[in-house]
Amino acid sequence: MERTTLSRPMAIALAFMAVIWVSPFAWLFSNAFDTAATGRLVWPQNFGIGNFTGAIGGDAGRMFLNSLLIAAGTATISVVVGAAAAYPLSRLRMPGKNALLWTLVLLRMLPSVGVLVPLYFAAQRSGLLNQFGVMLALSCLNLPFTLLLLKNFFDTVPIELEEAAYVDGASLWQIVTGIVLPMSRAGLAVVWFFSFTGAWNEFLLPLIFSRVEAAFPMSVGLYGAFGRMGAIDYGFLAAFSIIYAAPAVGVYFLLRRNMNTGFAGVGVKG
């Protein structure tokens, strides 16, 4: 484990691995930019962006908007509900707080397939088998993680600042909106984008909650398109995949520096 330069065989092995890891992407791009794509790895025969224009119009465009709606809605509900509860949770001394936090940690482990049937049943009975139902269900499943993360962020806001503001006559609302929220801006952004990508990538809940094709997000649409029997339009699907994957990948590289905080946000501090 000492600091060494890589030996030659090791470097070759790593390069080989990197090639294996990226070759599916090479395939994806070569097909996406080839308007006569056949699903083979060849240099594009008919180079063009026709596949992309096809993948943002019509049905595909509507799916994009559906995904956007579900992801942004879930992220906003999660952050608003989470932040409203995380601030009191961070500042209040209440009996059973540790037990509550541990419950949240355990709930964070809860696999969504474990509560799939009751979720579906509840949504069906309350008429929520639609996009709003998907947002609500995803926020519900997200909330334990969101709460813990936001509580950890609020814990780091120095309470002395709040005291000083109080002495100067600020109300609770002014303290929260003027000090606490601005100081945890980075944390709120991380949580929002985490929930956004999570909901953007989500497949299972939209699959069972979407009753009509008009409500399909991109994940369900892509599944439907390549699972279908018959000729597969590789060019279109490759372009569609790139458009679908771009926000999830982009957000990560945008927030890369802040991500570590979220990564470690599983611990409990009483």
């Binding site: 509860a85 949240l104 397939v113 609770l172």
Partner: protein, 296 residues
């Protein structure tokens, strides 16, 4: 640490409680759903038809079915194989080896490999499934690069080697998480301790096995805990690639649950499967958490 009473908090207790209410309702709903899954598992509730309205209590019948009918135990075995090879052997070991090799190497090699494995991880599940279905199809990348040039007939990998293909796809997709965690873990090992072991004459192997591994054991346990639970309940990748087939070769528990509940409409039996899954996940967590706490 915190002051006993912050006046702006104590004078607004009602407001703060009201602010917590939506979260309490949602977390309560989550707990309630878990309880509901248990309740459903004792009924013959159906997705559609008469059983959706006039369900009745069936006692332990659903649980008996888990062990007496074909399906559950086979799925459990498939899941165990999938978790063991893709999460524990694949992601964890590969992630650790990569983290250990790339430690302290030139930054370009490192960032190229990091970006490569991160891309797989960041990709939506369904895109990964599409990529791997296309790559392993009869006209796909692997056949045209490694099989056909050697004069062999193209192989329909997804049909003939379904479980290995989804296992590989999951390793490809998930290694980044273990890698990142192990990079952080190895960074937390104090340099002085390794230097001291070196001076005392420990070989490279002894340093890794006797010095580094015991220090990062909590990280190993955390990693195993998370990836085991995730992989155990992982649904989209396999579902989109094979749908559980061919036959039932790749029907892991998550797919079995889905198929029983939503394709066949047995919500009661589906609930029994989900309760069994929750129990297994709970048991695994306990084992790993004990590993985490054990004195060094």
């Amino acid at each position: 640490m915190r002051h006993q009473a912050n006046p702006w908090i104590t004078s607004n207790l009602w407001l703060l409680s009201a602010a917590m209410l939506p979260a309490i309702i949602l977390v309560g709903a989550l707990l309630f759903f878990t309880g509901w899954a248990v309740t459903f598992s004792f009924t013959d509730l159906g997705l559609t038809g008469r059983k959706a309205v006039e369900w009745s209590w069936v006692g332990l019948e659903n649980y008996e079915r888990l062990f007496t009918r074909k399906g559950f135990l086979e799925s459990l075995w498939t899941t165990v194989i999938f978790v063991f090879f893709s999460a524990i052997v694949g992601q964890s070991v590969l992630g650790f080896l990569l983290a250990a090799t790339l430690r302290g190497t030139v930054s370009t090699t490192r960032s190229v490999v990091e970006i490569c494995i991160m891309l797989g991880w960041l990709l939506p599940d369904i895109v990964a499934a599409f990529l791997w279905s296309a790559t392993t199809s009869q006209t796909g990348l692997i056949n045209s690069l490694f099989v056909v040039p050697f004069g062999l007939k193209p192989i329909n990998f997804i049909n003939d080697f379904a479980l290995p293909v989804v296992t590989l796809a999951n390793i490809w997709k998930g290694t980044a998480w273990s890698y990142l965690l192990f990079v952080a873990a190895l960074d937390s090992v104090p340099r002085e301790i390794i230097e001291a072991a070196k001076i005392d004459g420990a070989t490279r192997w002894q340093r890794a096995w006797l010095v580094v591994l015991p220090i990062i054991r909590p990280h190993i346990a955390t990693n195993l805990l998370f990836i085991t639970i995730w992989t155990f309940t992982y649904f989209p990748l396999i579902f989109a690639m094979t749908g559980g087939g061919p036959g039932r070769q790749t029907e892991t528990l998550a797919l079995f649950l889905y198929n029983q509940s939503f394709a066949r409409g047995n919500l009661g039996f589906g609930s029994a499967i989900s309760v069994a899954m929750l129990l297994i996940v709970g048991a695994l967590s306990t084992v790993y958490l004990r590993m985490l706490r054990e004195p060094k």
